[in-house]
Point group: C2
DNA sequence: ATCACCGTTGCACATTATGCAACACAGGAA
DNA sequence: TTCCTGTGTTGCATAATGTGCAACGGTGAT
């Protein structure tokens, strides 16, 4: 692992929280300001960061240039989008998400915003906890056995709510049930008062390549009401899977 | 400047052109594969790159997570968007762009696609050459004197077409004219058969903070026809500037 | 089973990243 | 205008990390 590079990446992540001065970056990294400055200048040369008139550092345009490409490289998004939109409409304007597994997390690739006033917070690009979300459970349940073991071993079972799964044994049971029934739920495990159901999108060989979820706050539908949305969810994921298979051949 | 970091950033830029294997990355960087691997693993740990089942490397989700933020940090986009859309409609469905200066280039922040079949290629996040585009000229013309001299000194006057400005002296004349008339043009200097006009968006202190352009292929409108769009362009940039001032106070 | 290819690990040392001291510059106050 | 403060920048020496080598491990095809 490269220490300099890690530091530079931390700078980028931190600038995602807001602009910074050289001194602030150096303090945050716990390095001398000269060290921070050289990293920042290197990042600036390739437009990963930019400086304003007052020498404040911001994220640069290269991030959105490459970000657009990175997102477009997830081709499943284009295939899924119309189905996600329809699913959102069919379920009464609930929030619908598409997510994929990446390096220890479920990453949101697409979303259809809820039309309701009360909603959950999410953003394309943000990771969701594998042990506390419906999409996370679906994605881990769909991993090959060896990879799944490695992933579970790396999970920090930190609690989001009093209902969050607390250990690997309980998680494995949930994964087994997810595989058996073909869908998963998050019953106020990630966020109090919000229930989700999720199901897998598969490629033509049956491998899980993404997950779709519907999220509903308690005030709109109780848990049983959210579970009642599973047939529509499964129809949508089935349709996406079929379209993906049709597209690949 | 940090050599390791530069190498890592080159990896990201290259992955923007498509997936790569470890060997391909090492060959491209001209380093031993162990060196490339360590950089890739560091990038992977923070989700700047991801690996697929076949050990191919791709851009990671952190890029679109941070990219979204980076673009949103350009607050002028939100203010300008409705005006860009209207300008595009008023000019008969031409391509309209919003750009800002960043580290030696004009960076496209927003665009309204042309509704015509024949159009120019551009993408949000991509840099445009300062010497060959209307937005480039507007942005450089609006820089403070000292900064402008430094920027011009750094320009590589490479030709895009036979009409591209070829040296700093000619460029300075064009900048002077741009300042005087309040707009600039690209008369098939960036791309054969495409003419553009551009004008500045200013903040309440009169500083140029962005540029707007209208681009039209010859087959749709000849150069004089594009110039005839300048009044509408100026009305739009004036309105954006006013809205920006109103928002800042 | 063997082979070829490609990713990974451990080690030593070559090279670069780092911090220090000094300097330069800009902005604000007197 | 001058002075002071704060912050970014430069040059140098050396400490530390990045690098390449050799060997190994794993996978897929024959």
């Amino acid at each position: 692992m490269s220490q300099s590079l890690s530091r530079a990446l931390q700078i980028l992540i931190e600038l995602g929280e807001g602009e910074r001065s050289l001194d602030e970056v150096a303090a945050s990294l716990q390095v001398h300001k000269t060290t921070a400055m050289r990293l920042l200048h290197t990042l600036e040369a390739d437009r990963f960061v930019r400086r304003d008139d007052r020498q404040r550092y911001h994220l640069g345009s290269r991030l959105f240039a490459l970000g657009t490409i990175a997102l477009a490289q997830h081709a499943i998004r284009d295939v899924a989008q119309p189905h996600l939109t329809r699913l959102a409409a069919e379920t009464g304007g609930q929030a619908v998400h598409l997510a994929a597994y990446e390096n220890g997390a479920a990453i949101y690739l697409a979303k259809v915003e809820s039309t309701h006033a009360v909603r959950m917070y999410s953003r394309v690009g943000l990771p969701a906890a594998l042990h506390a979300t419906a999409v996370g459970k679906v994605l881990v349940a769909g991993l090959p056995r060896g990879e799944q073991d490695a992933v579970i071993a790396g999970i920090d079972f930190r609690p989001f709510t009093s209902r969050t799964i607390a250990d690997a044994a309980a998680y494995r049971e949930v994964l087994a049930r997810t595989r058996e029934q073909g869908w998963a739920e998050d019953a106020a495990e990630h966020e109090d008062f919000i229930n989700c159901v999720g199901a897998p999108v598969r490629d033509e060989a049956g491998r899980v390549i993404a997950a779709v979820s519907v999220s509903v706050p308690d005030v709109i539908l109780p848990r049983e009401g959210v579970r009642a949305l599973v047939p529509q969810l499964l129809a949508a994921t089935g349709a996406i899977s079929a379209d993906w298979a049709g597209r690949s051949s």
